[in-house]
């Protein structure tokens, strides 16, 4: 029962990792941009939520109403004002620019909020639990986090395959020049994709900030988790990304159960194993 509990907790944290990964996967899929600042943007969202809770006295989950649109707006502006200028045949400029952005965000946050660890307080919901079976408990907050993650992934999937916006995103991903011929302003399409990505990041950042301590320097490690979840799941598949997040979460939970020092190591080992055995990921997109 103890192991079942460990796996269950791993699955639930996997939802958070999937949310880290979904935004990264979306951006890479639509515009072949590897966003090195992704993890730092997650941390930025956590701080935006911190400001919202401190300024308006909101609880962290309600602060999503502010943080999600704020981050989406930042994403749109970032893409139109900066990242669109780096896109082209060469993959290096966007890598370098987002790497620089990562450093700027980290140091900006350090300057504004110091290196102190913070945590968002969500109140009683953080400690509420349900008993599923004898000796098997599940926390209300991790459960909400997982349900939200599934809803976000499902929502993105629907948006991609059932809406005109999703069609435009897929068309632009297929062939930018012809997408322009269809009247799509690819600069706008890219900016909408980045706004979507940062909206997802905002949700992930708030859940991260309630679940654990955060400080300006933890972004790059979140980026690694996001990368690992994307690669495990296979590029281009949203449900694969959810599976990737869950596999990473479960691996880390099992590693931590064996030895507390092995949490991250276990995740990396599973990631490397899957990369070696099945480089295309477990659930790659079938077509294209």
């Amino acid at each position: 029962m103890q192991w079942l509990n460990v796996i269950l907790q791993g699955v639930l944290i996997g939802g958070l990792y999937a949310m880290f990964a979904a935004g990264l996967s979306l951006i890479f899929g639509v515009m072949r941009l590897v966003n090195i600042a992704h993890g730092d943007l997650i941390v930025l969202a956590a701080y935006v939520s911190l400001m919202a809770t401190q300024t308006f006295g909101m609880d962290p989950l309600s602060s999503l109403l502010l943080v999600v649109p704020a981050m989406a707006l930042i994403g749109y502006g970032l893409q139109r004002g900066l990242l669109n200028r780096t896109l082209g045949d060469d993959l290096l400029p966007p890598l370098l620019v987002t790497f620089g952005l990562s450093i700027i965000i980290q140091n900006g946050l350090l300057e504004l909020f110091t290196a102190d660890s913070r945590k968002l307080q969500a109140g009683a919901i953080e400690i509420q639990t349900f008993q599923l079976a004898q000796n098997l408990w599940v926390g209300a907050f991790p459960l909400i986090q997982f349900v939200v993650a599934v809803a976000v992934i499902g929502g993105l999937q629907l948006l991609f395959y059932r809406t005109a916006l999703g069609r435009a995103l897929r068309a632009t991903s297929d062939d930018q020049a012809v997408a322009q011929l269809m009247g799509l302003d690819t600069r706008h399409v890219f900016a909408v994709a980045m706004a979507l990505s940062l909206a997802v990041i905002a949700i992930a950042g708030v859940f991260l900030a309630v679940r654990a301590n955060f400080d300006p320097a933890i972004g790059p490690a979140r980026l690694i988790f996001a990368f690992e979840a994307v690669i495990i799941g296979g590029l281009g598949s949203m449900w694969g990304t959810l599976a990737g997040g869950i596999i990473l979460g479960v691996s880390q939970a099992i590693g931590a159960q064996i030895d507390p020092g092995w949490q991250l190591l276990a995740g990396h080992i599973v990631f490397l194993t899957i990369l070696a055995v099945r480089p295309q990921g477990l659930f790659p997109k079938v077509s294209g």
Partner: protein, 282 residues
């Protein structure tokens, strides 16, 4: 509406990097007219279409629509000046970084409905009523046939072309609407590419190498449906290596040779000898 041609291209020069692909090309298309542009490989036919569609930007020359000269936005003027001053400064133009090629028209203007479209991004050109059927079809492979058509109508102008009307023109597309685009045969893909362009309700349809890689019977089948398209008042510019089809479909023919107009005239006046001479430069 003023008199004069629907599309008027005056003295357009265009470059790929340092390589000049078009030399002072002029061309005009009347309302409802079908014009063919023929020429050997590398003569500049596709380049010309890309300039009209806004995928490439002539560095000189004019492309006008319906003869009314209206100046474009100040931003456009800035772009134009930017190109004039810094021919290699393509990073000034965000649309160029996503458009294929490194095309800088160096002289001339492209006017469409009186608006200078030179240096206008392709998505803006489409909104003004110019649609391009690109060489090699280039359907979106991860979209279904229906989704490809719907994308074409994403920023549609008012007009007769709807999904139902396209299915009526090419019934096979209706049968296969839910298949992914790569599952279609070459001819069906060409129909889908034409249908996709029609969905925006263009005034002017540019077709790049309709016959490329298709069996003659399929080419004849597609060409046989063009009159249904022009019956809606649409003008057509056909770039074609299949001279027989081009002469049959078009009322006016331009023959390009190494980036220059070597011969032009009414299709019925052009003899095989004249065309051969212009085509091969002999």
């Amino acid at each position: 509406m003023p008199d004069g041609p629907l599309l008027k291209i005056t003295a357009v020069d265009a470059f790929y990097g340092d390589f000049q692909a078009l030399f002072g090309v002029s061309l005009s298309v009347g309302a409802g007219q079908v014009v063919a542009v023929i020429g050997a490989n590398g003569a500049g036919k596709s380049t010309l279409l890309k300039c009209i569609a806004g995928l490439m930007h002539p560095s000189r020359g004019e492309i006008l629509f319906e003869g009314v000269i209206t100046t474009n936005t100040p931003a456009f003027e800035a772009l134009k000046r930017g190109i004039a001053l810094v021919p290699e400064g393509r990073r000034l133009f965000p649309s160029l970084t996503v458009a294929e090629g490194l095309m800088h028209p160096s002289r001339g203007e492209i006017l469409f409905e009186g608006v200078i479209t030179t240096n206008t991004p392709a998505f803006e050109v489409l909104k003004r009523g110019i649609a391009l059927v690109p060489e090699g079809r280039r359907l979106f492979p991860s979209l279904t046939v229906a989704e490809n058509l719907l994308i074409g109508g994403q920023s549609r102008r008012p007009g007769p072309w709807t999904l139902a009307r396209v299915y009526e023109l090419f019934p096979v597309l209706a049968e296969r609407r839910n298949l992914p685009a790569p599952a279609l045969s070459g001819g069906q893909q060409q129909m889908a590419a034409i249908g996709r362009a029609l969905m925006s309700n263009p005034r002017l349809l540019l077709c790049d190498e309709i016959s490329l890689g298709l069996a003659p019977i399929v080419v004849r089948d597609i060409y046989a449906r063009l009159p249904q398209i022009t019956a809606e008042g649409l003008s057509l510019v056909i770039v074609e290596q299949d001279i027989v089809q081009a002469l049959r479909a078009a009322s006016h023919v331009y023959c390009l040779q190494e980036g220059r107009v070597a011969l032009q005239g009414a299709a019925r006046d052009l003899t095989r000898e004249k065309i051969s001479a212009a085509y091969f430069g002999v």
